[in-house]
Amino acid sequence: MIPALTIENLSKVYGNGFEALKGISLTVQQGDFYALLGPNGAGKSTTIGIICSLVSKSGGRVQVFDADIDTDFPAAKKYIGIVPQEFNFNMFETVLDIVVNQGGYYGMPVELSRQRAEKYLRELGLWEKRKVASRTLSGGMKRRLMIARALVHEPSLLILDEPTAGVDIEMRRSMWDFLKQINAAGTTIILTTHYLEEAEALCRHIGIINHGEIVENTSMRELLRRLHREVFILDSESELPADISVAEFTCRRLDDHSMEVEVQKGQHINDVFAALDAQGVRVSSMRNRANRLEEMFVNLVEGAA
């Protein structure tokens, strides 16, 4: 099966001489939910900009399904739906007009465009707001409006550049559910985000970009499997002894009722419980100090710095 996106040796040097991409290559398979992660300025938005024609590449090749952007950019564009990082719609236009017009730009007749706009505005909870000027929407609604706009021509590849930035938790989770549905229905999704738990919850494959280079490109499962250590915070019902320690584990008392324990690859957390039990400490709850993917991300990015 032909990949949804193939990038080979993609490079970008801006007019001021800044080398944003240093010959990156990656492949996203059809039906995948792919996370493209990286710190600010790593090259994520430049990569997305090139794929959807807002940025001119300096070298390399990009193919979307069977369409190469150098030889048949219109065909490649038809495959893509883009949800950019910044709001990029006319704040004086109504919600409905913004979505219907986007359908028109993809060559859709106005009636079909209206039907699709209704479908996606309803699914994203914006139908009641269809007649209001887009500037009156909340931040979360504006993000959902951009998703509806990107979906109106029913693209095979949906690219979301930090779609949940500044969105509250409840709204973020409902957007996750919606994106999972779209993906399950067959749409390939590429997501950039700074919320690493979001990438972990949604994505099956992951690429990490740093200083314009791909430093990791693998499955989420494989990446997490390679995690060498995890730090857990344990809460105790009773007061912890001042000199609490667990043999062979690095641990630290945080306050009277909580402590953190570092578990290296190959160690077993059961041993921690056994040791604490022997000291009369009853653990009431346990959680990761940081998101597991975040740990890996920091290791990779700092390691490359």
């Binding site: 801006y14 900009g49 959807c52 024609s53 807002l54 940025v55 001119s56 950019f73 219109p74 065909a75 564009k77 038809k78 893509i80 883009i82 950019p84 910044e86 709001f87 990029n88 719609f89 006319n90 704040m91 004086f92 236009e93 007009d97 913004i98 017009n101 986007q102 359908g103 028109g104 730009y105 993809y106 060559g107 859709m108 007749p109 106005v110 706009r149």
Partner: protein
């Protein structure tokens, strides 16, 4: 995109443009009607009655074609420059740039939007002028073709201005310091016969001279320049403006990073 899809994209841009200027009609349509009424009252009635005849017509009859053309030029230009720069400013132009709409369809959509506003204002100003003078059209064909070609030319000029503009100041500099002087010096208010030979020669470098005189020929049947030359010059300027606009879109200059 096939022809039908391109037509849908074109109509979408045009519909959006028309909707935009009708929504803000007090800023887009009304000012021209008021300004031209003042021109008719002051230059046509008050001052014109003391000037007497110009080119064999009353001064009011002489200035009406130029004033109508002035409204067409400024409205076609300002519609495209403000709309396209606005879409650049709020980044909504990206909606079009990421779509498969061909560049020439994008250009046509904006230009025809500007032309439609120019024509609408021309109708309003013509209706207003009828309160001040009797208008007898000498050649409908010439009038229609000059109006269309001129509005296309200045809509294209507005597009080029919008692509280069970095701020709202930049979209008012050209109309204020270039377009308005060219209009005033383009023979709207006087006949070229009144100018010394040197300045009459210099005036022939001004595209507005051809526009105003060709339109005046269509309405009154008189012109300071030959009609074929006037049409030829307008067509030449239009081809240059269209080619340059397409170059800007195809190269992505100031539109893509």
């Amino acid at each position: 995109m096939n022809a039908s899809e391109q037509f849908n994209a074109f109509m979408t841009i045009l519909r959006k443009e028309v909707k935009r200027y009708l929504r803000i009609w007090t800023q887009t349509l009304l000012p021209s009607a008021i300004t031209m009424s003042l021109y008719f009252v002051i230059f046509g009635s008050l001052i014109g009655s003391r000037i007497g005849e110009m080119g064999g017509f009353t001064y009011m009859q002489f200035v009406v074609p130029g004033l109508i053309m002035m409204a067409i030029v400024t409205n076609s230009y300002s519609n495209v420059v403000s709309s396209f720069f606005g879409s650049k400013f709020n980044h909504s132009v990206e909606e079009l740039l990421v779509s498969p709409t061909p560049n020439y369809v994008i250009l046509m959509g904006y230009v025809v939007g500007g032309v439609s506003r120019g024509l609408l204002v021309a109708i309003v100003v013509t209706l207003v002028s009828m309160f001040f003078t009797d208008l007898h059209i000498h050649s409908y064909l010439v009038v229609l073709s000059v109006v269309l070609m001129t509005s296309i030319l200045f809509a294209l000029a507005g597009f080029i201005n919008a692509v280069y503009a970095n701020s709202f100041d930049d979209i008012s500099i050209i109309p204020t310091f270039v377009l308005t002087p060219l209009i005033y010096l383009g023979g709207v208010f006087y006949s070229m016969d009144l100018l010394p030979d040197f300045w009459a020669g210099v005036s022939k470098l001004n595209p507005l001279v051809y526009v105003v005189n060709a339109f005046r020929y269509g309405v009154l049947g008189v012109s300071d320049v030959s009609l074929p030359i006037a049409f030829g010059m307008i067509a030449l300027f239009t081809v240059i403006a269209f080619s340059y606009s397409m170059h800007l879109l195809n190269s992505g200059k100031r539109l893509r990073q």
